[in-house]
């Protein structure tokens, strides 16, 4: 079943085939997860939101008009969930509270995660999309509908901002 096109899997899912939807969800999981991670800057929240979006997609697949557009449709649902979470919970404070519960002597990966979470949204999204999307500027440009030079400029800015954040917090790696 894994070799079937999205269109066929969507049609089977509409008919109530959970396995078909599971294949579909697995196929698009990584892209949706990276998008959520880019928006939220937190792995656990990104996983929760991705799962919620996938379940929402399962319940509402009957109203998807174009079967070929499942990827963009499910990503849009996930983005709306992210925005909703950021608005509802005052996401910055939510993250700060989560930080308080972390180990008092976090490792370099935790420091980096915190710094990524504190990046401006635009910088965080481009940095996460680049590193978690296979380090391809071409793919990032396509996904974010930007020119390659714009992607390079934003990557440069994001790298410098990340370094500044790590230095300011005394978390030199």
């Amino acid at each position: 079943m894994s070799e079937l096109a999205d269109e066929n899997l969507v049609n089977a899912s509409r008919a109530g085939d959970r396995d078909a939807y599971a294949v579909l969800a697995e196929r698009h999981y990584e892209h949706v997860f990276v998008t959520c991670l880019g928006m939220l800057g937190n792995v656990h929240d990104a996983e929760d939101v991705t799962q919620d979006a996938m379940l929402r997609g399962l319940l509402r697949i009957g109203i998807l008009r174009d079967s070929c557009q499942f990827g963009s449709w499910i990503t849009r649902i996930a983005k709306n969930y992210c925005l909703s979470l950021m608005r509802r919970k005052k996401y910055g404070r939510h993250l700060a509270a989560r930080e308080m519960t972390l180990d008092r002597k976090p490792g370099p990966h935790e420091n980096l995660k915190r710094a990524i979470a504190k990046l401006p949204p635009v910088s965080r999204r481009i940095l996460v999309t680049y590193y978690f999307g296979g380090e391809s500027v071409k793919d990032v440009a396509q996904q974010m509908k930007l020119s390659r030079s714009a992607v390079y400029q934003r990557l440069r800015a994001a790298t410098q901002q990340l370094h500044k954040l790590l230095i300011e917090r005394g978390e030199v790696l």
């Binding site: 509409r14 109530g16 959970r18 939807y21 599971a22 969800a25 697995e26 999981y29 990584e30 997860f33 991670l37 792995v43 996983e47 991705t50 799962q51 996938m54 379940l55 399962l58 319940l59 509402r60 697949i61 009957g62 109203i63 370099p108 990966h109 980096l112 995660k113 940095l127 590193y131 978690f132 500027v137 390079y152 990557l155 440069r156 790298t159 410098q160 990340l162 370094h163 790590l166 030199v172 790696l173």
Partner: protein, 256 residues
Amino acid sequence: MNDDCETMKDKMADHLFDCLSAPDRDALNEHLGRCPKCAEYLQALGDERELLRELTQKVGAGMQARKERMAEAVESCDLSEQTTLMSGFKAIVLSPITRLAVAAGLLIAAGFIAGRLLPAGPGDIAQLRAAMEGSLKSSLKEGIYSSLIEQVNRDREAALERHYLRLKDELARQFRHEMNELAEMTLTASKTATEQRLAELIRLIETARAVDHWQAAKAFEQVESNRFRDRNRFGESLVSLASLKNEMTSDDPGQN
């Protein structure tokens, strides 16, 4: 750190993503050779990049487990709430907002029909207007606003289109007119110049011909004068010859 270092910071970040030109790379290497702080900065950026890659791998390593958790959630999801096109349509139709809108529409329609059928006096009309005004305003305000805005946009675009076409025609017409005028002016100027040249040429020819006539007349006059002089001389010579003959005849008596 100076201005040069600030510029080099950007180049260092670009260097990480391998988008630095060869001259810039050379300049950066040259700068790094004499600026330990920048070398340290580049080292830090490189370390962060490596750490990001590690983090990516770490998060990526947990991807399969996440997918499995998601698959389990999909498996255990209750599909009784699944939305189909029909249920989505029903949800829209049966939503409180739709119901309210339908009720408002029916109320307005009933009021309109009642107003048309009943012989309404001036007081009735005023009452009906007052009663309907509030509900009409609230229900139609947004629709009217949006339709008005759409209408204004359409009119504006049509007007712009018309103005554009008119302006284009006007410019084309003016261009043609000016080109015609220019051609006429050029032809006139050319004609005048040609006529002046021709007149000058004719005058020169006339002058040359007059000079030739005068010279020919002079030559004829000279020839005539020479001929007259030669005839006189010939006459005089004949006279001299005759007189000489007479003298010779008178001197020689045996000849008689």
